[in-house]
Each structure stands twice: as C-alpha cells, then as structure tokens.
C-alpha cells in the first residue's frame, strides 16, 4: 500500500469525510484519526479538516489546540511531518503556533460561501509542488472567521521568506491582510489555508469551470503534491 494520510476528527469537524475521500482520490490510503487519541498510527502526513470544532467557542480552534492528538502532532510537525490545515484546521495550526498569525471574523461580518480564485505563490511546500508558480486555481471558500491577521513585522517576514503560499485573486473575501489565503512554516511541511481543496477533487462535485458545471478539480493537486513529497 502507498502513503498513509491521516485526517483528524474533532468534535464539530465537518469536512473530515471529504478530506478522507480526497486522500483516496489522490491515490493514498486514508486513515481516520481521533482528537482524543494521541497516537498518529504511523501516518505519513496529516490533514486537519474544516468545520466548527467545539462550536468555535472561545476562539476558532482554541480548544482543539489542546486536544491529546495535537501534542503528538505539534512534535511530529516540528520534526518535518507534512501537515495541511484547511479552514478550521488552519485556525487550529495558528492557535498551536505551528503557523504565525490568527483568524478573526470576516470584515463584512457575515458567513461567506463561494468558489474562490487563488494564486499559488509558493510551489516548494509539501502540499503545492503539483502547481506552477502564479497558477490561478479555483476552490470553494466557506467561513465566518476567515480574516487572516498578523502584525506588520510578521507579515513582512512571511513575504520576504516566500511563506505566503496562496493569495486571494480578483476579490479579497474576508479582509485578510495582504490578500493572504494561506501560509507555510519555515520548513515548508506545514501549510494552512482558509479555502477548501478537498471540495474540488472529483469531477461533478467541484466548482464550475469552462469545461462544465462542477467540473473543477484544482484541489486534487494538494494531495498529489504530498504524495510526491513522500516518495522523494
């Protein structure tokens, strides 16, 4: 069997099933992981899925950050394990300090759900090697607390080190600083973003494209990227 990619389910996770499905469509073995189980079960990479873990109580991702699985995951990520955080997963990675910055409520104060165009700014991370630099991709975006914020010094550092991985194109949907949709850590193994690649991995269920309605599969590249990173 090929690479094993784990998806963690927290109380209130919504997109864990879609993430497991995306892993399978990319050709890897999906492994379900549980927030209360500190064991990562020998997976080769981990996805923290979207949703509203703990109802977003306190702050989005703040309580999940202290789940038993996160202690193990934080150590493994610091040791180079590829980790992708999507939406609530991105918020958890920020609360865990694996990624810099934080998410606050959208500047327009409403929930948003749309197909969003992004540019891929860094193709050297574990999760983006299947793309070309500057490539425009379209994947769904759906969130309440999606406004990425960090102090100016941190933002300047991220820009200088090429750690802004995705930027919103055409329209900034939530007021994120410098149109940032996703960032990576220094090692390039941990990536977090607000939009949802796992919802754009199968023809018939993705965003509309020129090829046809719901034909978009731009999200599949995230999962094939990590597979080739694991083979290397």
């Amino acid at each position: 069997m090929g690479a094993r990619i784990g998806v963690v389910t927290f109380p209130g996770s919504l997109d864990d099933r879609d993430a497991l499905r995306a892993v399978r469509l990319a050709g890897a073995e999906p492994v379900t992981l549980w927030h209360a189980d500190a064991d990562l079960h020998d997976v080769d990479a981990v996805v923290l899925p979207g949703g509203f873990s703990y109802g977003d109580y306190l702050r989005a991702g703040a309580i999940s950050r202290f789940a038993p699985v996160m202690d193990t995951l934080v150590d493994a990520a610091k040791g180079g394990l590829p980790v992708l955080g999507v939406c609530n997963g991105f918020q958890i990675l920020c609360e865990s300090h694996l990624l810099p910055g934080a998410m606050i409520k959208n500047n327009h104060r409403t929930f948003i759900c749309r197909d969003q165009v992004l540019s891929v700014e860094n193709t050297t991370t574990a999760w983006t090697s299947a793309f070309t630099t500057g490539q425009r991709i379209t994947i769904p975006l759906k969130n309440q607390d999606g406004q990425y914020v960090a102090d100016e010094r941190t933002l300047d550092e991220l820009e200088a080190e090429g750690r802004v991985v995705f930027r919103y194109q055409d329209w900034n949907p939530n007021g994120s600083r410098r149109d940032i949709a996703g960032v990576t850590n220094v090692g390039g193994n941990v990536v977090g973003l607000m939009p949802h690649p796992e919802h754009a991995t199968e023809p018939g269920f993705g965003p509309d494209t020129a090829k046809g309605p719901r034909a978009g599969v731009d999200g599949l590249g995230f999962f094939t990227s990590v597979l080739s990173a694991l083979v290397r």
Partner: protein, 104 residues
C-alpha cells in the same frame, strides 16, 4: 441559642475575573455590529463599541497567590490569543457560597 448555618454555606469561594479585549489595532467586527445597532434604539452618542470577554474562574477557598498565578497562566495561554487580544485585567474577587454578596 443561635443555630449556626451549615458549613457549606459558610465556606467562601474565591473567584478570579479575567478580562480580555481585542487589541486596539485589530478590527472588532462584533463591536462594529453592536455600534451600528445602537442608533436604532435612539442611542446615537456612541462613536465606537469594542467587545471583549470576561471569564470568572472560581476556586474553593481563598484566592491565594498560587491561584492568581494559575489564573494568569490560563489567561495568557488558553483564554486569550496574544496575536489578536490583550489580557487587560486579572482580578481576585470574593464570592460567597450562598450566591449573595456580603454575608461572609
């Protein structure tokens, strides 16, 4: 003869109040929404509203220095995110087990 109240109602409980506010430079969408609703009530004198959080951490017995230190740790780790929020106060208050103030 004066009957003494059951011991449980006499045991004072200590509470630490932690106040957390969004950093001044961070846009506060919730405060903005509240601010824009106030004029609908005829309250049009408020030019800005910022919304924070108040936590009440209760212990059995007195709020000792150790309890305060633990409350500060809670405030800085879980109760606030230093990137977007400030802990503006960690204050010990006395609470009575009977639920009313002033009796113990």
């Amino acid at each position: 003869m004066i009957h003494s109240a059951p011991a449980t109602t006499l045991a004072a409980m200590g509470t630490v109040v932690v106040d957390v506010m969004p950093k001044p430079e961070i846009l506060d969408p919730q405060g903005k929404a509240v601010r824009s609703a106030l004029p609908r009530l005829g309250l049009d004198g408020f030019i800005e509203v910022r919304q924070g959080k108040r936590f009440e951490l209760t212990v059995e017995g007195e709020v000792t220095d150790e309890v305060l230190a633990q409350a500060r740790r809670a405030a800085e780790t879980l109760l606030s995110n230093p990137i977007i929020e400030d802990v503006v106060a960690v204050t010990a208050v006395k609470r009575c087990a009977c639920g009313e103030g002033g009796c113990c």
